[in-house]
């Protein structure tokens, strides 16, 4: 039963309610002349989101000595970029904190894996002097949303996909394409488009496994490259790993393009630093309720 991509996307639910707010807030925040009142009303229209946001920005992670007590307060003290990434993180939990049988991910595993990729993306953005580390966080967080749809089709064809991975020595997502006719990054991009995500997110979702072919199709190749490396690292270090596990390839060239040390000791240093970010991931896990 192979569905064509359009058919598949038609079956995707309309945007989960609070994603509307995140997308709208993101659009407002991207506008240089953002109207703070409109922004705070947009966020304030969802009380659960407000509660979450205040809890998160008052957690030790952000280290404000004076308590943030309102949305307006959060806007001025966190800054637009951080605010945007926190709003996306909060609304994403409803979608990403799900059991995905096809990838053998228990409830919570995709969520942890996504937060890990988000934190690693932000870290990589910082050390490679990427212009917007908070955007990298969001792109890393959402890169695998396609799995939410593709998993049910992967489930019925898992053995076949695995066979293709092994016989043709290709990565899991390439085998998804071969067997299903599409892969989770393509589908993810289509969902992101349907849900009106900012273009830059649509593109990084689409190319998170192969930024090397993104030239001309993706405006921000550096961001796609950052997410690619963060994705590979989060798989390698095992956080919320599914049955597609480490059957992805990381392109050394991408590391080099980012100006990272791609020797074996360079990579070991990078991993050592990334593992130390675990406490940040734990704190996000416990502070996004």
């Amino acid at each position: 039963m192979v569905l064509d991509v359009d058919e598949l996307i038609n079956k995707v639910d309309v945007l989960p309610h609070n994603f509307h707010i995140a997308v709208k807030a993101a659009k407002l925040l991207d506008d240089f002349n953002v109207d703070i009142n409109e922004l705070s009303q947009t966020i304030g229209s969802d009380q659960a989101l407000v509660t979450q946001l205040l809890k998160l920005c008052n957690s030790a992670e952000y280290g404000f000595s004076k308590k943030i007590s309102s949305v307006n307060d959060a806007i001025t003290r966190l800054g637009f970029k951080t605010l945007k990434s926190l709003v996306f993180a909060i609304v994403s939990k409803g979608s990403l904190n799900k059991k995905l049988e096809g990838y053998d991910l228990d409830k919570g595993e995709l969520w942890r894996n996504s937060l890990t990729c988000a934190v690693y993306s932000k870290y990589l953005a910082e050390i490679t002097k990427y212009k917007d580390p908070e955007l990298a966080f969001t792109a890393g967080l959402l890169r695998d949303i396609g799995k939410l749809i593709v998993h049910q089709y992967v489930k019925s064809k898992y053995k076949k996909i695995l066979k293709v991975v092994e016989s043709e020595k290709i990565s899991f997502y390439e085998a998804e394409s071969q067997v299903l006719g599409y892969n989770h990054s393509q589908i993810g991009a289509k969902i992101a488009l349907k849900w009106n995500f900012p273009k830059v997110l649509v593109e990084t979702i689409e190319f998170h496994h192969n930024p090397e072919i993104a030239e001309g199709k993706c405006e921000d190749i550096k961001l796609a490259s950052i997410v690619h490396v963060a994705d590979s690292m989060s798989m390698m270090l095992g956080a919320g790993l599914g049955n597609d596990g480490m059957m992805y390839s990381m392109n050394i060239k991408i590391l080099e393009n980012l100006g990272l040390d791609a020797t074996s000791s360079g990579i070991e240093n990078l991993i050592s630093n990334m593992v130390d970010l675990d406490s940040q991931i734990d704190s996000l896990m416990s502070n996004i309720g």
Binding site: M235, L237, G238, M246, E268, N269
Partner: protein, 152 residues
């Protein structure tokens, strides 16, 4: 790193990708230790390291020292390991990203330096694992993602 002889304790190294779970057990005093090795060699790391538990060359001797101070005897120890999966990386045909393999080699080298033999190991492949040790029964088990838990 976790060491325990408390009845009912199952030591676990969950979500092992390229990392290695190394379990050591003294059946006489029913003392178990489990360490989660992330990287082979602390010597390659450029900054002061506050977590010796991450590296094969520092974590394993430290756990052994602690276990021996708690009454374990080297000649009685049962040692098993799991993990060390490889990032699928045919494209470049390079070993730079084979942290799993480097970890496996490093753990073996450190153990042999300590005069210990690995009784059983389940390493390599490209899937994640969870490794456990029950300190009462001394049973080791491995679960590959997507498969049943098996005794090691």
């Amino acid at each position: 790193m976790e060491i325990s002889s408390k009845p009912g304790t199952v030591l676990a190294a969950p979500s092992l990708g390229s990392c290695i779970g190394l379990g050591i057990y003294d059946p006489v005093i029913k003392l178990g230790g489990m360490v989660h090795v992330v990287l082979p060699d602390s010597g390659k790391i450029e900054r002061d390291e506050e977590k010796p538990g991450k590296y094969a060359d520092t974590a394993i001797p430290e756990m052994l020292k602690k276990m021996i101070s708690m009454g374990a005897v080297k000649s009685r120890l049962i040692v098993k390991m799991a993990g060390g999966a490889q990032m699928f990386n045919i494209q470049q045909g390079s070993n730079i990203l084979n942290i799993g393999m480097r970890n496996t080699i490093a753990v073996k080298a450190v153990l042999s330096k300590e005069g210990l033999e690995i009784k059983k190991a389940d390493t390599g492949g490209n899937k994640g694992r969870t490794f456990k040790l029950d300190v009462v029964t001394g049973l080791f088990s491995v679960k590959l993602i997507g498969q049943e838990e098996l005794e090691l």
